[in-house]
Symmetry: C2
Subunit: 183 residues, 2 copies
């Protein structure tokens, strides 16, 4: 059921409440490194009663179609919106993923996993390289520096490994054993 069947007063009343919520959602997503306007776009889709086209989003956001295209792509990459197929229309249609728990874990899986595993790799490689310099007949001063650095990097690698396992727990749903969805 769309809004345009309502009186103008009813429309503004509903729209004002939505706007406040969209603002909050946008701020929240901005915390995750997503541009505010993309967060607002998400909010628009959140309240939409049906999948939207790029043109409709442009209308709703009062922004260019180009921006909608890039914004929706960002949301798509993070699996925060889904592309919907509707026969008869050759426009692309998008709707939000309403399972926010899934969205949350996807966010970790997509954005963090790669970074974390990349960092583990860099650390392992760096530790190995520093170990290479750590020969028997070494300047004691250098030995001390190297050992200290290696120790620090080992600790960091441990932490990243923990983070990696935390992301596992998100992805496979174990996290809900610790923190259940229903209170």
């Amino acid at each position: 059921m769309s809004l345009d069947q309502l009186s103008p007063e009813q429309q503004t009343a509903v729209l004002n409440v939505r706007k406040r919520v969209i603002e909050a959602i946008g701020r929240n997503m901005n915390l995750y490194g997503i541009p505010l306007s993309t967060g607002h776009l998400y909010g628009l889709l959140f309240f939409a009663d049906k999948p939207m086209t790029l043109d409709e989003m442009g209308m709703g956001m009062k922004m260019s179609k180009t921006s909608m295209s890039t914004g929706v792509r960002t949301l798509l990459d993070m699996k925060m919106v889904n592309k919907v197929w509707e026969k008869g229309s050759r426009k692309d249609l998008y709707e939000v993923e309403y399972d926010w728990y899934q969205t949350f874990t996807d966010f970790f899986a997509i954005k963090w996993r790669k970074a974390v595993e990349g960092n583990i790799l860099v650390l392992k490689r760096s530790i190995k390289e520093m170990n290479k310099y750590l020969t028997e007949d070494i300047d004691p001063a250098l030995r001390s520096v190297l050992e200290e650095d290696i120790h620090k990097m080992n600790e960091a690698a441990k932490y990243y490994s923990w983070l990696d396992r935390l992301i596992d727990a998100m992805e496979n749903g174990d996290i809900y054993d610790l923190v259940p969805k229903e209170e």
Copy 2:
């Protein structure tokens, strides 16, 4: 033990490895919404063998002291570095918080908690307001719209409540029951 006791070749060798790690740390922190240069500053402090002053940081980063001041403040606000007191020096000294697990949970506690609880408030208020419009003698079209919106906001509020409890689990350490620090 400081680097300047080493030969120039030894220094560059160590410095190059560190640089690669610092780069990785910086990229990672950038993911959390922290400027790249601030991430590099963190990396510099990470490898420092002793607490550093703003001037020393400026040297190491080849940047202005003003930038060091704001950068270190950012890191301080996120509890990623600590201010250290040393008698005899009237300069402020800073060192990284080496407990990255603590840093991680602090990050959630500081940056997310406020946002999450703010959003819950906004949602609760918005649901209440929409309910106000939901009277007996209402236009069926409007009723349908309102009920749909209220449902969506309720689901969102549930999710934020879950997130709130997840942050609890981080803060009080329960998260380590599920994902132990040691593998």
